[in-house]
């Protein structure tokens, strides 16, 4: 990140940008500070919806 200058952001900038995007999507409060301890604790909303692939070949279309 960004696409035209890959890997050029500092760790702090990446945490700040992640915080901005998560806040813009109403996932965290504006006061939350993200770092290596707080970021992994955030539960993304799609997490509960994920299911493992149940296709196994055979006649049934899945």
């Amino acid at each position: 990140m960004p696409l035209n200058a890959p890997g050029s952001l500092t760790d702090k900038e990446v945490y700040s940008l992640a915080a901005y995007i998560l806040h813009a999507n109403q996932l965290i409060d504006s006061a939350v500070v993200l770092n290596k301890i707080s970021l992994p604790k955030i539960a993304m909303p799609a997490q509960e919806a994920f299911i493992a692939d149940d296709r196994k070949g055979g006649p049934k279309v899945k």
Partner: protein, 417 residues
């Protein structure tokens, strides 16, 4: 007047009739199969002279394609598609292999290349390219297909447009299981992360069982070093599994007891199925087929036509391809060109005596698990209407519209039974 002069005069006259176009003109030619097809011709071809009267060039260092052949990939901002309609047999010429990458094609010095394998292993190790080549080498032929390989609802789509994100090569490299034994993968390791060294630093989690089955790290493609666009100097090869997980420009493998939940296996490469659920880690490519001849925008003539195409399945061998020439009412088996390899493009052909009336031609593949290629409608019924764009393999129909002696062929991928 000599024959040569007569030929020259004919070409000159034709050139004048074509308005003296400097490059491409269009003319009708009779193919070796006796079919009249439209073809573009260049200035050089118009001034073609008798090859028995002029010595050709001497032997060279590098072969080239005939000046009369112009197969091209079709690039967009994100991918480049293989011209399936221009190919014969099942091997994709390396320079026509489809491309899909997320940060461009990196330049990697093979002398500086290193692959690290670490994490839940007895002995973390770094392998140079020479190290990889010292291990027993294995060669196999299989397809790689992007799991986003479907474009429908466009009457002017060619086979390249509909599903040009599949290509086949003969790959050579080392079995991943060989390297995993070398580093001593711990018994409780169930997943590994594969990481590329491109500007996207592509990362995917792969079940360890695939390594014990048939995964490879390959450094050669169709008899030469892997092309930069396909992962030079070494890539992961997961036969039959979605292209994205076959990480190119591979630099690191980390063993773990759980998946890593990277962007490309959460936000991307997942798709909604019924009841608000999202299918994740969907690896195998289901059976599919496409008729590559005749197809849009080709024209055909009444009479005998050999319908041709390819079929493939990520689950194993193709056992049957059926053809319908009456818009899906009846089906008959096509001949498969052997040897039929597992997880590989398989060529099929079917002789058809066309009566000149409008119809639609379709193909459907079946693999050794008993799976039969579905219609788009059947996929929607199974997954719900909001099913995204991954892992779609519907039956494709080509509409043939009667039009005097010549007939235009148009794609139509709407549901058929």
């Amino acid at each position: 007047m000599s024959n040569e002069n007569e030929n020259r005069m004919n070409f000159t006259r034709r050139k004048l009739l074509l308005g003296g176009a400097a490059t491409a003109a269009t003319m009708l030619i009779r193919s070796v199969y006796g079919q009249v097809i439209q073809s573009s011709v260049t200035e050089n071809e118009l001034s073609y002279t008798d090859p028995t009267k002029i010595p050709g060039p001497p032997p060279g260092e590098l072969g080239t394609r005939s000046m009369f052949e112009h197969p091209l990939k079709k690039p967009s901002d994100t991918s480049s598609r293989t011209p399936l309609q221009d190919l014969y047999g099942t091997i994709t010429p390396s320079d026509l292999h489809y491309e899909r990458h997320h940060g461009g094609v990196p330049v990697i010095d093979p002398g500086k290349y290193e692959l690290l394998i670490h994490g839940m292993v007895e002995k973390p190790m770094v392998f140079t390219l020479l190290d990889l080549k010292r291990f027993p080498s294995v060669t196999r032929t299989c397809f790689i297909e992007c799991s986003g390989n479907f474009r429908g609802s466009n009457e002017r789509a060619t086979p390249q447009d509909v599903c040009g994100l599949t290509s086949q090569s003969e790959w050579t490299g080392v079995m991943l299981s060989t390297l995993f034994r070398e580093v001593g993968v711990k018994p409780n390791a169930t997943w590994f992360l594969a990481e590329g060294m491109d500007a996207a630093v592509m990362t995917r989690s792969v079940p360890v069982r695939k390594a014990w089955d048939d995964a490879m790290i390959v450094y050669a493609q169709n008899g030469e070093a892997v092309r930069p666009e396909q992962g030079y100097p070494a890539r992961l090869l997961l036969p039959g599994w979605e292209g994205n997980a076959n990480v190119k420009w591979l630099r690191r493998i980390e063993l773990s007891d759980q998946p890593f939940m990277t962007r490309e296996e959460t936000s991307k490469y997942t798709y909604p199925v019924r009841d608000g659920k999202i299918r994740q880690f969907s690896f195998e490519m289901d059976a599919r087929s496409i008729i590559t001849y005749p197809s849009y925008p080709q024209s055909i003539e009444k009479g005998w036509i050999e319908i041709r195409g390819i079929a493939w399945s990520g689950w194993g061998r193709i056992v049957k391809v059926e053809i319908s020439t009456d818009a899906g009412k009846t089906w008959a088996p096509a001949a498969l060109q052997g040897p039929v390899l597992e997880k590989a493009h398989t060529a099929f052909r079917y002789l058809w005596n066309w009566n000149g009336e409008a119809t639609a031609i379709l193909s459907r593949a079946a693999d050794e698990t008993g799976y039969v290629q579905p219609t788009l409608k059947a996929l929607k019924e199974a997954r719900g209407s909001d099913m995204g764009g991954y892992h779609l393999n519907p039956i494709t129909a080509w509409n043939i519209k009667g039009m005097d002696r010549y007939c235009s062929v148009l794609v139509n991928t709407v549901d058929r039974n």
